[in-house]
């Protein structure tokens, strides 16, 4: 049961990431692409956690934390650049 659920979940996440990449490629404006990139980050956290479940280890936990933090800071920096033309004033 758990294996089936894991496979379904993995498939859905991978499909979600594929859709994000489509939006990233065709997004008409910069904020669209930024949104797609941010969602891609979040989905990759899910992928890493599912990989940890699949391999039954907790080694990848730190990688998930790092991705979460870098994704947030990166998105904030680009937003700020688009808003004010400057990141640190």
């Amino acid at each position: 049961m758990l294996g089936t659920a894991l496979m379904i979940s993995l498939g859905l996440i991978v499909a979600a990431m594929a859709m994000n990449i489509v939006r990233l490629a065709k997004g008409p404006d910069v904020p669209d692409r930024l949104l797609a990139l941010d969602t891609l980050y979040v989905n990759s956290i899910a992928l890493i956690v599912l990989l940890g479940l699949w391999l039954n280890t907790k080694t990848y936990f730190e990688a998930a934390i790092l991705i979460a933090m870098l994704g947030f800071v990166g998105t904030m920096a680009i937003c700020r650049y688009l808003l004010r033309g400057d990141i640190i004033e």
Partner: protein, 146 residues
């Protein structure tokens, strides 16, 4: 035995629910018509999806290894705190760049003043103090940062 089976069912349900939520969030981002509508999918759907998957992972490791694993709570809380902030900033960026929205948008979009979207510099009081020199500088009138 039954308890393990029950926990397994809960973990499987949370995994599938998380996958479905993340999937619909991304689907909404792909197919909705303008930027502000697309923003709704990732900020809500994807965040809750990841939350479900992280809680499933927490439960799974707690049951199988018979000790508390609560580290995933850290990522869950972090995501739930940062996702609205990201959404707010992205919406602000979209307003600032005058992205077009679909024509039957209801309500009145009020005109934005330049300070509101952050185009002009904003006067704020210089309140930050030195970390250990605690003598308080006088808080004069607000001055423009640099």
């Amino acid at each position: 035995m039954t308890f393990t089976l029950f926990a397994e069912g809960v973990v499987a349900f949370l995994l599938v629910a998380g996958g479905v939520f993340a999937f619909t969030g991304s689907l909404g981002m792909l197919q909705l018509k303008d930027f502000f509508m697309r923003l709704h999918g990732p900020t809500k759907g994807t965040t809750l999806g990841i939350g479900c998957i992280l809680i499933a992972s927490m439960l799974y490791f707690t049951v199988t290894q018979r000790e508390f694993h609560v580290q995933e709570l850290l990522i869950t809380l972090f995501l739930f705190i940062t996702a609205p902030v990201t959404g707010h900033m992205l919406a602000k960026t979209g307003l600032h760049m005058h992205l077009r929205f679909i024509t039957d948008t209801r309500g009145s979009l009020p005109e934005l003043r330049n300070e509101d979207v952050g185009q002009n510099r904003v006067a704020r009081p210089a309140k930050a103090r030195h970390p250990w020199r605690t003598r308080r500088r006088s808080l004069g009138k607000p001055r423009l940062p640099r």
